[in-house]
């Protein structure tokens, strides 16, 4: 991500919008016994398009705003979402993924990881009450719902962030596909390909 004032404003507004939409809107619309949770999706999307440092910073800001807005333990969501943003960003940095269906596994892993980490940190902090298995059911439904909206959601975030991205993974993929040979050359030997 190019660190310009415009990038900060754009990302900051996105963070505010994601948290407000989640807690004031989406959270009250139950679907099949669960709800869509766009906070881990949003952090994962930023991390996959912008890298590990922006991912971690956006994760921290989103988590902090979430904790402040709903009045829950300060630092809990920011800790988990920072790790999530960094983790997804590192995956992007190291593996350079650019497949068109990438948002689906990333959304599933990010949502499941977020829920597992929130549960783990909550257990470590203060939970003394009985825990129902329905927590697991709700988490699974949320993962499935997030997977269902992953492609359009990631596309939307990419579209909004594209002007401030240093490198767009999808464009890089298309460029590579266009310039790289699609098959071996006329003799069937590598190195004698005809570039299209």
């Amino acid at each position: 991500m190019t660190l310009t004032p415009g990038a900060f404003v754009r990302t900051g507004l996105l963070v505010l919008l994601a948290v407000i939409i989640q807690v004031a809107g989406i959270q009250s619309i139950p679907i099949l016994g669960g709800t869509v949770d766009i906070t881990p999706l949003f952090v994962a999307a930023v991390a996959i398009y912008a890298g590990s440092i922006p991912g971690a910073i956006v994760g921290f800001a989103t988590g902090l705003l979430l904790d402040l807005a709903i009045g829950q333990t300060l630092g809990l969501s920011s800790l988990v979402l920072t790790a999530l943003g960094y983790g997804v960003g590192r995956y992007r940095d190291m593996r350079d993924p650019s497949h068109g269906l990438l948002p689906i596994p990333v959304a599933a892993a990010a949502t499941a990881g977020y829920y597992a980490a929130v549960a783990a940190v909550s257990f470590m902090l203060e939970i003394g009450a009985t825990v129902s298995l329905l927590v697991l059911r709700e988490a699974v439904i949320t993962v499935l719902l997030n997977v269902a909206i992953a492609l359009p959601f990631f596309a939307l975030i990419r579209r909004i962030l594209r002007p401030v991205l240093a490198v767009d993974p999808l464009q890089r993929m298309r460029r590579r596909q266009g310039s790289e040979p699609t098959a071996t050359g006329p003799l069937g030997l590598r190195g004698l390909e005809v570039n299209r």
């Binding site: 807690v23 959270q27 009250s28 009045g71 333990t73 800790l79 929130v118 009450a129 329905l134």
Partner: protein
């Protein structure tokens, strides 16, 4: 050289952010509810509340539409003949159903107020504007605050029964910690005279536990209400007689080993919309033989 710098910077950013989060977690736990972090949180909530209230209002047609879809799925068998007519009047129906739900809720609330002796000036009506997204922290934010006479620890009810208590108050909004929150514990009485503590089961708001049961044997179907007393000389924040739920399962093993039974709460925590904050301490009979903490 460049790579090393990048790696170092990346690790430094991660360390700073994780460190900040841990410092906030530790500080938040260590301080009282009047501490600087809690005050900062309250300040941010006050700033955000108009935006949140606006967003909540903007989303209400979508919520109503989602509710409408649920209703249609439930009544699918009976609605075949009316489908064409329904499509034409869909938008009117959405508005009408929302109004009917509000009306039913308010009527129930009125009945509950009459039963508990709550006068018009003893309570304020509120609407839920935010819900916590995790199953671990059951809190909601309502659109009344300090300006409406709301204070910390005031009980919150719906027409069905007990919902929770106020845990933080800002100018125009308040946070309600529901009785399904992991930190909640309510002293309760069964209608046959047995007593105990109602505690939540995280993730399943429809299955709560009545623990530390004392007194006569309890049976499935009996009603559980607030006891109105707490431990020792301490007074409960919940007035006596607010319905909590119905005993749904009594297992002899659980009863013997853990002194606990299962309760299905009357309040529907998944679709919480209108609530009432009891702002006046109600008169209630003393109970010297209190058994619960």
């Amino acid at each position: 050289m460049y790579d090393k710098q990048v790696v170092r910077r990346r690790r430094a950013v991660l360390a700073v952010l994780v460190g900040l989060s841990i410092i906030m977690l530790t500080g938040y736990f260590g301080e009282s509810t009047g501490g600087p972090l809690h005050r900062f949180q309250g300040g941010v909530q006050t700033i955000l509340s108009p935006i949140e209230a606006g967003a909540s209002r903007a989303f209400s047609p979508i919520r109503n539409l989602a509710g409408w879809f649920g209703d249609v799925f439930d009544a699918k068998g009976q609605n075949k003949d009316l489908k064409k007519q329904l499509a034409a009047t869909r938008s009117e129906l959405v508005a009408a159903q929302a109004a009917a739900r509000d009306d039913a809720g308010l009527r129930k609330q009125l009945g509950m107020n009459q039963k508990l002796g709550i006068g018009q000036t003893d309570a304020v009506q509120a609407r839920v504007i935010l819900k916590s997204p995790t199953a671990w922290y059951s809190t909601v934010q309502i659109d009344v605050g300090r300006g409406d006479g709301v204070k910390v620890n005031q009980p919150v009810v719906t027409g069905d029964g007990l919902v929770g208590k106020i845990t933080s108050v800002n100018g125009g909004t308040s946070t309600v910690t529901l009785i399904t929150d992991s930190s909640s514990s309510v002293s309760a009485m069964v209608d046959n005279g047995a007593s105990g503590q109602v505690q939540p089961s995280i993730g399943d708001p429809n299955d709560m536990r009545l623990q530390y049961i004392k007194g006569p044997a309890i049976k499935v179907g009996q009603t559980v209400t607030t006891a109105g007393w707490a431990s020792g000389k301490l007074e409960s924040i919940f007035p006596r007689g607010i319905p909590i739920g119905r005993i749904s399962k009594v297992s002899s093993n659980e009863l013997k080993l853990y002194k606990q039974a299962h309760i299905t709460p009357f309040a529907d925590f998944k679709t919480l919309d209108q609530v009432e904050v009891i702002t006046t301490r109600l008169k209630q009979p003393t109970n010297p033989g209190s058994a619960g903490p």
